[in-house]
Amino acid sequence: MQITFTSFPSQSGLRSAYASATKHATEDDEDAYMDVEPFDDFESDSSRLTCPGETLTSAQSFMRGHGTYVDNDDVISSVAGTVERVNKLITVRALRTRYNPEVGDLVIGRITEVQPRRWKVDANSRQDAVLMLSSVNLPGGVQRRKLESDELQMRNFFEEGDLLVAEVQAFFSDGAMSLHTRSLKYGKLRNGQLVTVPPILVRRLKSHFFSLPSGVDLILGLNGYIWVSKHVKESEREGEEGFDAEAVYSNRNDDIDDATRTAIARVTNIIRILAAHSVPLTDVVLLEAYEWAVEQDADVKGLLQEDVSDALVAAVTSG
């Protein structure tokens, strides 16, 4: 048995870092400081960070948007995040937030409830998403109308706890998103494990499906859920020749060898480390990080050690 005890990161260390930072700021040229205060430089592309309670600008010349409120003719930030401006509208996009869905986003969700003609799906958003029975692929191959018999066997398709990959189709009037899985790329997930990261770290990419060497497939959900699984060859994907409901809605895993399992665990740990260091995740970054980890020949567990993970982040972000 191995046990490691450590201390919590010391508060005094943080405090001294903060103190030196603020000291640095006051030593800086006062003009630079003055520039920021009236907040006229919205034009500049540099994103500005703000914290709750910070006065952003005057309410007389700007309108308040999400993440702000007005007090005494001042627009004040109510969250920590980046300030954004569209014409006269000031918004603050929070750094740590739930997933804000947009139509066309690829998300990974977990079924929480089976209801008449629909499933409720947890997709890390403020409300549960909805997956209608009419927006999944039904057995029988061709696109067809749903039948009463389909309604009766909804749990054969998805049941509580099942993970699925889907696309945001539309929004309901209450803001909940409606999902669809009407593509052979979408559907139930198996052969792997889920990692959760803050949704802000997943960027919109050309493709959210990609595979790493050594047989690992990755699906980056824009809601911060990431599926790491065994690689399935393009030709062996279900539904290549005709739609096989049995295979698509199967709960059984394929045989996975130890090497693949190790690779999956390694990728999982890499994602965790990158997320902990707030590195935005893209296919390029993950590939680079994975190659670095293999090159360093670090064991899966060792990656989580502080020095190794710092080195990994440094290697990825410098490139």
Binding site: I3, F5, G192, R261
Partner: protein, 332 residues
């Protein structure tokens, strides 16, 4: 998370990984390996002893891990009508932050708190491990040691974490020094009044020393540590999956294992661990022969865990003393 559901294929994946030849876990640990445990004592200035413990938190991460806050508060209690004349008692309660179980209904959260409280209280309030120096005035007053735990977040292995945090808080506890006070009525001779003289008998056995109250001694430190804190119990959770068992399960692994065996050991210095309590959680059954073997394995794990935590607690003690000395020096 106790209320997290996993899909069938996720469960199958975890189980198959654990049972494969190299028995690999989702984060690359071996079966008998703990995640990193962070521990700090003396976190609550108003408590007599306190500790914060986190299992599995990544250094740079803001959240994550199983986080427990434990605090000990000593209260003076009248024991004149109680059964135990010379000992105080220990009570234990656990509350769960709703943030730790966001998916639980309010009723579910209460049930969970009740389950945790009952299990901990049954074991920790047992007279066999009650610290010996909780008495104040024999037969009259004693300290009531109230141990409160808060589950701030849960990502698996809550029971081990709670017992470790409780041990750390108990370790950190200082009992204030007290001195007994006796009241003696002063006889007053009043003028010419005819007063019946009380006859003093040399054979009066009713004259017992009767301390009635106490006062706090003024002393430079906060008090003395609890007697018998070394023997304070510790929990080892064995997660059982068919024939193998593994330690320190994450919440996903907990959801994928049918059975958990909680073993609570108390180790008085250098002797073999004594089983203080056990509980089997989950649906399924284990036969007696297997339980016997598991208890032996658990003993081994418990003594290793204990050695590790004791080392850390001593470190913390040194750190706190240094801190107090620095503070004292800076004030002067």
């Amino acid at each position: 998370m106790a209320f997290k559901s996993l899909s069938k294929s996720e469960k199958a994946y975890i189980q198959a990984s654990l049972q494969s030849n190299s028995s690999l876990r989702g984060d690359g640990r071996s079966l008998q390996e703990y995640r990193t445990i962070s521990l700090e004592t003396g976190v609550a200035p108003l408590a007599n002893g306190s500790a914060r413990l986190n299992i599995g938190k990544n250094d740079a991460e803001a959240g994550g891990g199983t986080e427990i806050l434990a605090a000990v508060k000593l209260e003076v209690e009248d024991i004149e009508h109680g059964e135990r004349v010379d000992q105080g008692r220990v009570t234990c309660s656990v509350s769960c932050s709703p943030a730790a179980y966001p998916l639980a209904s309010s009723g579910g959260l209460d049930d969970l708190q009740h389950d945790y409280s009952t299990f901990l209280d049954d074991i920790l309030s047992h007279p066999s491990i009650t610290p010996a120096n909780l008495g104040i005035v024999r037969g009259k007053k004693a300290w009531l040691l109230a141990l409160d735990l808060v589950v701030l977040s849960d990502s698996g292995n809550v029971y081990d974490a709670m017992f470790m945090a409780a041990r750390a808080a108990i370790w950190d506890t200082k009992v204030p020094r007290t001195r007994s006070v006796e009241y003696r009525a002063q006889k007053k001779q009043e003028g010419d009044m005819d007063v019946d003289e009380e006859k003093q008998s040399g054979l009066d056995t009713r004259q017992v020393k009767a301390a009635t109250d106490f006062e706090l001694e003024d002393y430079w430190d906060e008090g003395i540590p609890l007697v018998g804190r070394e023997a304070w119990p510790i929990c080892v959770t064995l997660n059982l999956l068919s024939s193998l068992h593994f330690l320190d399960a994450t919440s996903q692994e907990e959801a994928a294992t049918p059975l958990r065996l909680l073993l609570v050991y108390s180790v008085a210095s250098k002797s073999t661990p004594a089983l203080q309590g056990m509980q089997l959680l989950g649906s399924g059954e284990v036969d007696v022969a297997q339980i016997k073997k598991l208890i032996q394995d658990g003993e081994k794990h418990a003594s290793q865990l204990l050695a590790a935590i004791n080392l850390k607690l001593r470190d913390e003690e040194v750190r706190l003393t240094d801190k107090a000395r620095l503070k004292f020096a800076s004030v002067r």
